[in-house]
C-alpha cells in the first residue's frame, strides 16, 4: 500500500485508540476503500492495523439486495450495470460490506458517501441475504461525503 499522508494520519489516529482522535479520523480523512486491499486482494497492512477499530471509509452505496435491510455493499466507484461488459450483475472484487445500526435509508448508487463503523476481517456469510463478505464495517453509520 502506498503510504500517503492521509492513510498515515488515519492509521496513527486509530493506533492511538483515542476516541477524540479516532473521531477526527472518521470525519476528516476517510480511508479510500482500495487502501484496505493489496493489489492481489489480500488485506493491506492498513486494514490489518485497523481491525476492530472504528474507521471511516469513502465510497458508494451499491443498490441494496433487499428492502428494509441493515446491510449494503460499499463500492469504490458507482456500481454500474453494464450490459455490454457483463452478462449478469457482478460484484467487483474490492468491496466492503456495511452492517448498519439502523435500517438503511437508500442513497443513489452514484452519490459519494462516507461509512463509519468497526472494521471486521475474515469470511462471514450473512444468513439473511446469503452474502459472503471477507471484510466488513459493523455497527455502521453513513452520510453523504461533502
Amino acid at each position: 500500500m502506498p503510504l500517503t499522508r492521509r492513510t498515515l494520519l488515519a492509521a496513527s489516529a486509530a493506533a492511538l485508540a483515542c476516541p477524540g482522535l479516532a473521531r477526527a479520523a472518521d470525519t476528516d480523512a476517510p480511508i479510500k476503500l482500495r487502501d484496505l486491499y493489496n493489489k492481489d486482494m489480500s488485506f493491506s497492512d492498513l486494514a490489518q492495523s485497523l481491525e476492530g477499530k472504528r474507521v471511516a471509509v469513502d465510497g458508494y452505496m451499491a443498490p441494496p439486495l433487499k428492502a428494509e435491510s441493515r446491510f449494503f455493499v460499499l463500492t469504490k466507484i458507482p456500481m454500474s450495470v453494464c450490459p455490454f461488459c457483463e452478462t449478469e450483475a457482478e460484484w467487483p472484487s474490492d468491496i466492503l460490506a456495511i452492517y448498519t445500526k439502523r435500517i438503511v435509508d437508500v442513497m443513489p448508487y452514484n452519490v459519494r458517501i462516507v461509512s463509519s463503523g468497526v472494521l471486521e476481517l475474515g469470511s462471514f456469510r450473512d444468513e439473511d441475504t446469503g452474502f459472503l463478505s471477507r471484510i466488513r464495517l459493523a455497527d455502521a453509520t453513513y452520510a453523504r461525503n461533502a
Partner: protein
C-alpha cells in the same frame, strides 16, 4: 537565406514555396516540411502480406484515442498534445471508419468486429450472421452463417491467433471464430437451440478443427463445469462440460497465471489456450499475476511466426471500453497505453515488407472534451486557463457559470451524472465541486449529463491506421467492413 530556402525546397522535393517566409525557421514549419518530404517520398507496398495483425482497442474512437495520446505524452514528460502514438507515425496510412450496424446507428462490439472479420455489416448484438440473422433467434442461424477471415486464411495454410484482455468469448475475440444469434450465448444456448453451440464451445471446436491455434484472454468460467476449480479459475457451465480438459486432451498447452504463461513452450506446435480470469482480465492499472497485452502479443507472434505460410492475429484491448462504460477516464487511458505498447511490440517483432498491421477500434463512446484548456492541462484533471505569454497553462482552473471548476474530460451520460435520483424518484442536482487531486485519482468518475447506470457507446467515427502491404488502401472515410477487404486483398493480391 537562399541557402535555407533551397534546403527547404530539397526537403520538400517541391518548389511550391518559392519565396522568403518569415515563419520558415520555426520548428513548426520545418517539422511540417520534413513530414511533407516523407510523404512525397512514400511508395506503396504492393507485395503480398504473409501475415496480418488486426489490433482493436474496444471503444477507442477518435476522442478516446485523443485522451490516451495526451495521457501517454504527459506520462512521458511532454505537455501531451504533441505526443505521437506508435501508430500515428508517418509510416502508417489512415482513414476514418463508419461503425454503424445494419439496424443500429450506435453500434455494439459484436457486429462491428463481425464486419471486420467477414466483410459485411451485421445486425446489432449478433456475430457473423448475414442479413437474415435475427438477434436472439436461434432459428435464424442456419443458412445465415458467414465465412470469416480466420477460415479463409486457414485454407491458405496460415495459422490463426486471438488475444484479448476481455473474456475470450466476448464480442471482439468471438468474431474471429464464432457465429451466434446472440453475443451473450457465451456458455450456453437457449433450450431447443440446435443450430449452434455456445461461443466457448465454438472456440474449442475451432481449435480442434485447426482454425484457431493460439487463444489468450479472460473468461475461464465458461470453460469449466459449474463449481469446478482449475488453475485459480472456477467454472460456471451448467452443462458440466470441461472445455479446458477437452483442449488439453487434444494436446493444447494451458496457462492461467503469469507463472504458467511464462512456462509456455512457444516453440511447440501444440495449440495454446490461456485463460487468466473467470471474467475479463484485470485493468492494466490493477494488473497482478497475469501477462500484459504487450506480453501476450509478443508470445502470440513468437508462436505463430513458426508457420512459414504466415498467420492472422487479432489482438484486442477489451477494457478501454469497460472503463469508458464506468465513466472512469483514468483506467480508460491506462488501458489505452497498454494497447499502444502492444502495437509497438507487434511492429517491432514483424517486418513491414510481409506483415500488414492494422490498428483500429470498433466504436466510440459518449466521451466529450471541455474547453478552453491551456496546453498541458492534465487530461484527467481540471481544465486550466490558457497562458497569455507562455506555452503551458496558467495553473488556474477555469470555472463554469456555476462558479465551479470542471475537468477536461466528461461524458454525455453515465453513472457520473450530475442529475441524481431523489427520494420521490425525480432527478435533479448540482455539479459537485471537484479538486485537481480528486479528478486525477484512479477511481474518479468524470461528471456526466444524462443519468444512466452504464455510459453508452456512440456512433461517432473511429480511425484505422495501417502499415505494410496494401496499407495505402486505407484512405478517406470508409465503411468498417472494408477492413476485411483490405486484409483479404493483402494476403491474396
Amino acid at each position: 537565406m537562399k541557402k535555407t530556402l533551397s534546403l527547404v525546397a530539397m526537403l520538400a522535393g517541391t518548389s511550391a514555396i518559392a519565396q522568403d517566409l518569415p515563419q520558415q525557421s520555426s520548428t513548426w514549419f520545418t517539422d511540417a516540411q520534413a513530414l511533407l518530404a516523407t510523404q512525397i517520398a512514400r511508395t506503396p507496398n504492393t507485395g503480398t502480406a504473409k501475415n496480418v495483425i488486426l489490433l482493436v482497442a474496444d471503444g477507442n474512437g477518435v476522442g478516446t484515442n485523443y485522451a490516451t495520446r495526451i495521457y501517454m505524452g504527459q506520462q512521458n514528460g511532454a505537455l501531451g498534445e504533441e505526443w505521437v502514438m506508435p501508430y500515428e507515425t508517418p509510416d502508417y496510412s489512415s482513414a476514418l471508419v463508419k461503425t454503424y450496424n445494419i439496424n443500429a446507428q450506435t453500434p455494439d462490439s459484436a457486429p462491428t468486429a463481425g464486419a471486420m472479420n467477414s466483410g459485411v455489416k451485421q445486425r446489432f448484438n449478433l456475430i457473423n450472421l448475414g442479413d437474415g440473422g435475427i438477434h436472439d433467434d436461434c432459428s435464424t442461424v442456419a443458412g445465415n452463417e458467414l465465412t470469416v477471415f480466420s477460415e479463409i486464411v486457414t485454407g491458405m495454410e496460415k495459422s490463426v491467433g486471438i488475444v484479448s484482455t476481455a473474456r475470450i468469448t466476448h464480442a471482439t475475440p468471438a468474431a474471429v471464430y464464432a457465429k451466434t444469434a446472440n453475443r451473450n450465448w457465451e456458455d450456453s444456448v437457449p433450450e431447443g437451440c440446435t443450430a449452434q453451440v455456445d461461443i466457448a464451445q465454438q472456440l474449442i471446436n475451432a481449435m480442434e478443427a485447426g482454425t484457431i491455434d493460439f487463444a489468450m484472454g479472460g473468461g475461464g468460467r465458461y470453460f469449466l463445469p459449474d463449481g469446478t476449480e482449475m488453475g485459480g479459475l472456477k467454472g460456471r457451465r451448467a452443462d458440466g462440460m470441461n472445455l479446458i480438459e477437452k483442449a488439453t486432451g487434444m494436446g493444447a498447452q494451458f496457462a492461467s497465471n503469469q507463472g504458467s504463461f511464462d512456462g509456455l513452450d512457444l516453440g511447440s506446435d501444440a495449440p495454446i489456450l490461456g485463460l487468466y480470469e473467470n471474467s475479463h482480465m484485470m485493468y492494466e492499472a490493477d494488473r497482478t499475476d497475469e501477462p500484459s497485452l504487450a506480453e501476450m502479443t509478443k508470445a502470440a507472434i513468437e508462436y505463430l511466426s513458426k508457420n512459414e505460410n504466415g498467420y492472422f492475429l487479432e489482438i484486442e484491448a477489451g477494457r478501454v471500453d469497460h472503463a469508458n462504460h464506468a465513466g472512469n477516464a483514468a483506467r480508460t487511458v491506462t488501458d489505452g497505453v497498454a494497447f499502444a505498447e502492444a502495437v509497438a511490440m507487434a511492429d517491432e517483432l514483424t517486418d513491414d515488407e510481409d506483415t500488414l498491421i492494422i490498428v483500429t477500434a470498433d466504436h466510440e463512446h459518449a466521451v466529450a472534451f471541455n474547453g478552453y484548456c491551456g496546453r498541458g492541462s492534465n487530461i484527467l484533471g481540471l481544465c486550466m486557463g490558457v497562458s497569455k505569454t507562455g506555452i503551458e497553462n496558467n495553473g488556474e482552473p477555469n470555472t463554469a457559470a456555476d462558479g465551479k471548476p470542471y475537468t477536461v474530460m466528461g461524458y454525455l451520460n453515465g453513472s457520473g451524472a450530475v442529475l441524481v435520483e431523489q427520494a420521490d424518484g425525480t432527478f435533479s442536482g448540482t455539479r459537485p465541486d471537484v479538486t485537481q487531486d480528486e479528478a486525477i485519482d484512479l477511481d474518479y468518475v468524470q461528471q456526466a449529463l444524462i443519468p444512466m447506470s452504464s455510459e453508452t457507446h456512440s456512433g461517432e467515427d473511429v480511425a484505422v491506421y495501417a502499415k505494410g502491404p496494401w496499407s495505402h488502401l486505407f484512405d478517406g472515410t470508409v465503411e468498417q467492413n472494408y477492413i476485411f477487404h483490405v486484409m483479404y486483398h493483402a494476403v491474396n493480391p
